[in-house]
């Protein structure tokens, strides 16, 4: 068999863009032409904006990766590649020679994403070929305390968002007294706008398994759970395959690699509750209960699952472990800042050109992430804000874009690092609407246990809704701020304690927009429909009647060649006239 390999990215995003058709077409072509090449599936390389993505390798031209591939274009490219001709289609990355996005990868450092989009996630041999499970072998030879010291020395902090020292957390579980201990992987990635964990679970499931096995050995646990949200069916499928293969190969199960260490790993599918990302709620859910948080202490390290010492880490945290064991704490520390070491994966989304997954060393500026790695704005409208940390985070304005990516610097802005969702917004985004959007989310997802979170978020949502509908009063701002403070103080878990952040940061940095909604009954971004007003510019209207014919409620009057007029009392602000007019005579404001 020749060395030529065709790799098609078939993660969720690839499939949504049509990678399934591309894969089938190549499969047909190989059998029709009896080609001596291999066709394999891989996951997501992170460039969602270029999906479907196909990589060709094995010829003198080296590895060539193409974007926006179609079932037709791939055959032409494959023929070109096999004939040794230059590829005529869209080449996004090339091992040798130029490609559109070569420099985008050069600005990144990939530790967590090292195998994503490179290996076949359904193949254990592929993972082993990249050095997979060597760290587990090394760890099993180490003293358990030394493993924990190595993780502590690496400076790794919890990537779920809170940023607590992973090594210290492991130390607590190690020191906890108990005949039975558990380790848990929190894969309940619920922040809207974040998909880092999905990509790692889909693209490199063995790295999570290996990290968890190392952690279990170090802390003395013999059983583990991966709590994965049910919205990620492909991730669950890949995890199941990986666990079965690892058990068969002796990396999981009884007497791992011939030692007396045994570790059983289970998958627990979520059932749609954002609050289950909170560790005490997550454990209640594994136990088959309503996922409601409990008061801490006791911390899970003392009394977790079924009352036993339990250690919970996020997907990205676990994915770092084997790299640290293989390369050492010092190698890890060379990336990042003094207090935030290593790298961070971000999911870039919203009005950004290169939406997708990226991994950068801590310490780079947010501006560089957006403009150098993310390619800048997708739309013609200028940048307005970047939302970090999802419903627990905040919106950072242009003036603070030079803030560096580390836990402490981002906290100072009022936002949080969070799990890594970065949603870019342009001038066409209304910040009051964004705050209302997040409050609607947290209000829905509040488990109802703490009064301030349950009722306070609802009150805040009502006030924000009123403001977006033009019914806001000036004193609403003070009420919002008071409620926010009380919700933060009066909530048990992270959901409530951070729920007001999107409102507080938008009030801090975009107060003008709130005032415009309240005092002038105007939405500067033109988003809040109740405050929108469509008017016809008499200078530009030629009386073509196109808008009047399109209007679903017949509120536009005027006959042919006469200036038209919109009856504001009847107008439902659907925008049909605005998009129909070819002369720019309909004004939105």
């Amino acid at each position: 068999m020749s060395n030529v390999v065709v790799k098609v990215g078939v993660a969720s995003c690839g499939l949504a863009a049509g990678a399934g058709d591309v894969f089938s077409r190549v499969q047909e072509y190989i059998s029709e032409q009896k080609l001596d090449i291999s066709l394999v599936k891989t996951a997501c390389i992170g460039m969602c904006f270029e999906e479907p993505i196909v990589a060709l390798s094995g010829m003198d031209a080296g590895t060539i990766i193409m974007g926006k591939v179609t079932a037709d274009s791939i055959i032409e490219s494959l023929d070109d590649y096999l004939a040794g001709n230059p590829i005529r289609q869209r080449v996004i990355l090339a091992e040798k020679g130029d490609a559109i996005h070569n420099e985008l990868l050069a600005n990144q450092k990939r530790i967590v994403l090292r195998n994503c989009g490179v290996i076949n996630p359904e193949s254990l041999p592929d993972y082993e070929a990249t050095g997979g499970y060597t760290a587990l072998r090394i760890a099993l030879e180490m003293e358990r305390e030394d493993i924990i010291t190595t993780i502590k020395d690496s400076g790794l902090r919890g990537r779920g968002g809170a940023g607590f020292s992973t090594g210290m957390k492991w130390g607590f579980a190690f020191n906890a007294v108990g005949d039975k201990k558990y380790v848990v992987c929190n894969a309940d990635e619920g922040d809207p706008g974040a998909f880092m964990d999905r990509s790692v679970l889909e693209g490199d499931p063995h790295s999570i398994l290996e990290g968890m096995a190392i952690g279990a050995f170090a802390m003395g646990a013999d059983e583990g759970y991966i709590y994965c949200r049910a919205e990620y069916p492909l991730a669950i499928k890949h995890l199941k395959i990986a666990i079965a293969d690892a058990e068969q190969k002796g990396y999981l199960g009884n007497n791992i690699l011939g030692t007396d260490f045994s570790f059983d790993l289970h998958i627990k599918e979520g059932a749609g509750a954002f609050v289950c990302g909170e560790e005490t709620a997550l454990m209640a859910s594994i136990e088959g209960k309503r996922g409601m948080p409990t008061i801490r202490p006791p911390f899970p390290a003392e009394s977790g699952l079924w009352g036993k010492p339990t250690n919970i880490n996020n997907v990205e945290t676990w994915a770092n472990i084997s790299w640290i064991i293989n390369n050492g704490a010092d190698a890890y520390k060379q990336y990042g800042t003094e207090k935030s070491t290593g790298t961070k994966v971000f999911a870039l989304a919203g009005k950004i050109k290169n939406s997708g997954l990226i991994e950068v060393p801590m310490g780079v500026t947010i501006r560089d992430v957006i403009y150098k790695v993310g390619g800048g704005m997708k739309t013609e409208l200028p940048f307005k804000a970047v939302q970090l940390g999802g419903p627990s985070g905040g919106c950072i304005p242009e003036a603070l874009l030079d803030t560096i990516v580390d836990y402490d610097s981002i906290n100072k802005t009022g936002a949080i690092m969070g799990s890594g969702g970065m949603v870019v917004m342009d001038q066409g985004t209304c910040m009051v609407d964004v705050a209302r959007f997040f409050l609607n989310f947290t209000q829905n997802e509040s488990c109802g246990k703490c009064t301030f979170c349950r009722i306070g978020t609802r009150r805040m949502l009502e006030i924000l809704t009123n403001i977006t509908e033009g019914k806001g009063k000036l004193e609403d701002i003070t009420t919002l701020e008071q409620l926010a403070t009380n919700i933060i103080k009066g909530s048990l878990c992270g959901l409530g304690q951070t729920a007001p952040n999107p409102v507080l940061t938008t009030l801090k940095y975009f107060r003008d927009e709130y005032l415009a909604h309240i005092e002038e009954k105007r939405c500067p971004a033109g988003v809040c429909t109740s405050l929108l007003r469509y008017e016809i510019d008499p200078e530009k209207c030629i009386g073509c009647t196109a808008c009047a014919r399109k209007c679903p409620v017949n509120c536009i009057s005027g006959s042919v060649k006469q200036v038209h007029n919109i009856d504001q009392d009847l107008c439902i602000k659907c925008g049909a006239c605005y998009s129909t007019c070819k002369f720019g005579a309909v004004k939105k404001g």
Binding site: P192, A271, G350, M425
Partner: protein, 166 residues
């Protein structure tokens, strides 16, 4: 008689599910997930049956079933449309698609299933395919960069197929 047979048959399925999870009360969530996969919702009589079999109170089971958003106590339509309304989708215009689909189907945030039981339309907070926002899932197929026009067209295709079958 036929319906009695059907009922007995479907309870056999529940018993099979209960056995698969060793009638273990800590497996309530996977049990309910399997029951819902079978019936497309959680019928009340099945819930009572499950509670008795697991030796937990019906209240506890009801508590779990109503806590998690994936569980539905109402029957769902034949075709399920899920529109992502995560941050990225919201910023890139999911609201317009939601309005268009609700309008066309005569549904709202509260009423999510059509009277003819053909469609259920739900919004979900994030499907993690933010790079292709806004995202609409029609039954199992994920569609990216959906506009109101595209969404209505997808809906039309299903309606036409259903009419051909009828």
């Amino acid at each position: 008689m036929d319906s009695a047979n059907n009922a007995a048959r479907s309870f056999n399925k529940v018993i099979e599910i209960l056995d698969r999870y060793d009638r273990n009360a800590s497996k309530i969530i996977p049990i309910l997930q399997s029951v819902q996969e079978e019936y497309r919702y959680l019928p009340q009589e099945v819930l009572t049956f499950v509670a008795t079999s697991l030796n937990v109170s019906p209240a506890r089971l009801y508590g779990v079933a109503t806590f998690y958003s994936h569980f539905s106590l109402e029957p769902k339509g034949k075709h399920i449309l899920k529109m992502c309304d995560g941050t990225a989708c919201h910023v890139r215009g999911s609201s317009a698609v939601i309005d268009a689909l609700r309008d066309k189907l005569g549904l709202s945030a509260k009423k999510i299933t059509t009277d003819d039981m053909l469609f259920t339309f739900e919004t979900v907070s994030c499907l993690g395919a933010c790079g292709l926002a806004p995202v609409l899932v029609v039954d199992e197929a994920i569609h990216g960069q959906v506009t109101p026009e595209v969404a209505l067209q997808l809906l039309d295709e299903i309606v036409q197929k259903e009419q051909q079958h009828a």
